[in-house]
């Protein structure tokens, strides 16, 4: 009886428990220590080894507003790292929401950067993979004006960019399409290194490409962002949410376990109702 009631518990109870578990640590963080994944460290090392005198980074702002919670903390942390090391950062978007999010990041960086000098938001180019192809073929001239409508030609940040090999590293932050597959198809052999910041959901799919060495580094979802914040020693949005994230997992695991206990409990009493095998 008790098991059966537990098995048929109202789903709203589940929702409420989840919500409470998530909100509490956001209001009052616990600070659970975080280990850093090797793929995150790869990205960090790539940037540490850049030369501010000559190396240029392109930050692909290819994530959508809807999915930004998983990727934005990564992009912010990486942009901070680039700014701290005074590396030139060209922000390019192949997703319509990108330029707006780039502006948000430039705002966060504040006086660590000088717009036009070591950072620029060149704006959005429509067309997905074909747009990426266009940019790779002519990174210096594809965009005439930046997102704010100012001509790019006389900005120091763009100086000396003729072909794609003048860019040392592409760090592409993405929530889906276009994304790593489009870039990997279009980048020439021996071109710039390519590393990606992706949503957690895509992690399983991207694994074969990481194993094959086509990706020089990978930031994995919110956790990747939090890990990067740990590496640059500037805890931010990512780290703040990691506690909630962590507890969220535990509570989902608990749901699975309790759900099964209830299932077997009521089954033992022979009161389970049909419903076919689900797998």
């Amino acid at each position: 009886m008790w098991f059966e009631r537990l098995q048929n518990i109202d789903r709203r109870v589940i929702y409420t428990i989840l919500l409470i578990v998530l909100i509490t640590p956001m209001i009052k963080p616990i600070g659970i220590p975080l280990s850093v994944n090797s793929t995150t460290r790869q990205v960090y090392n790539l940037i540490e080894n850049l030369d501010p005198e000559k190396d240029i980074v392109m930050m692909g702002m290819d994530y959508s507003v809807a999915g930004q919670a998983d990727v934005h903390p990564q992009a912010v942390a990486v942009a901070k790292h680039l700014a701290n090391r005074n590396i030139r950062n060209i922000m390019v978007s192949f997703v319509a929401d990108g330029p707006m999010l780039a502006e948000k990041i430039i705002g966060i960086l504040g006086d660590r950067v000088t717009y036009g000098q070591n950072i620029v938001n060149v704006g959005y180019l429509a067309g997905g993979e074909s747009a990426i192809k266009k940019f790779i073929e002519a990174p210096g001239t594809t965009f005439i004006n930046d997102h704010r409508g100012k001509p790019l030609a006389n900005m120091p940040v763009m100086a000396g960019i003729k072909d794609i090999n003048d860019i040392t590293l592409i760090l592409d932050f993405q929530t889906g399409s276009p994304g790593y597959q489009d870039f990997l198809r279009q980048l020439p052999a021996g071109g710039p290194l390519y590393a990606a910041g992706i949503v957690t959901v895509s992690v399983p799919n991207v694994m074969p490409y990481l194993n094959s060495g086509q990706l020089a580094g990978l930031l994995q979802g919110l956790r990747g962002g939090a890990e990067y914040e740990v590496l640059i020693e500037e805890p931010g949005e990512g780290a703040a949410r990691m506690d909630a994230q962590s507890l969220g997992h535990v509570v989902i695991v608990a749901f699975i376990i309790v759900g099964n206990l209830a299932y077997f409990g009521s089954k033992r009493k022979g009161k389970t109702h049909g419903g076919g095998d689900k797998v």
Partner: protein
Amino acid sequence: MIEGTHFVFGAFIILGSIIIGVLLATRNGKLHPKIRRIPALDSIEEAVGRATEMGRPVHYSPGYGDITTSTAPQTFASFDVLNHVVALTARYNTQLIVTCKSPQSFPIIQELVREAYLVAGKPDMFREDTVRFISEAQFAWAAGVLGIFTREQVAANIMLGYFMAESLLFAEGGAQVGAIQVAGTGNLAQTAFFVAACDYTLIGEELYAGGAYLSQDASKVGNLAGQDIVKMITIAFIVLGTLLATAESDWLLELIKK
């Protein structure tokens, strides 16, 4: 010829010839392949039957995919099954609702459903709102479909095609109105949700088998048999490559790069 495409071109010609050859041979009655049982497809009739008993509509979703990207084959595979579902609903006189995200495939689906009702001899079962375009935006479409689930109280929910994040919204939304659910997609990340939350699930390539299995149409069955031969070749190829790799020989890997 473009560098590095020789091997792909060879594969295209050889595998393509096999698939077409087997298809033609089956269509001309020279081959008689049998298709193994696919329980999830058998369950579609059960689902439509349940909806009929309850006097509530059947919902069909061809998914997130469209007809002009790499998701196209999955969408087309879904169209094959949709044809069958229309015929079933016509036979049982059960209302069908098809919701649509892709503006490109919408007119094709509308045409397909209209024709299928015509063929089944029930042209007046097709109404303006049988096939509904909801929105091109993923989650607006999802919100609209969830709304339809509860407002129309669908009793059967069939989702076949390429699905993205909405898979679980639909599967749980359907479960909440008590619908019997049959789902299938080639998108691996979402299959997990379908397996967990739906009554019957088609995994990966089983989706493509749908049209052949349901219609037993000779050219479609032949197509499926041709795919099996291609699979056998692929298996032999992988076994060979593995043996060579173990023997530390890389001529096959070099050949592929050509």
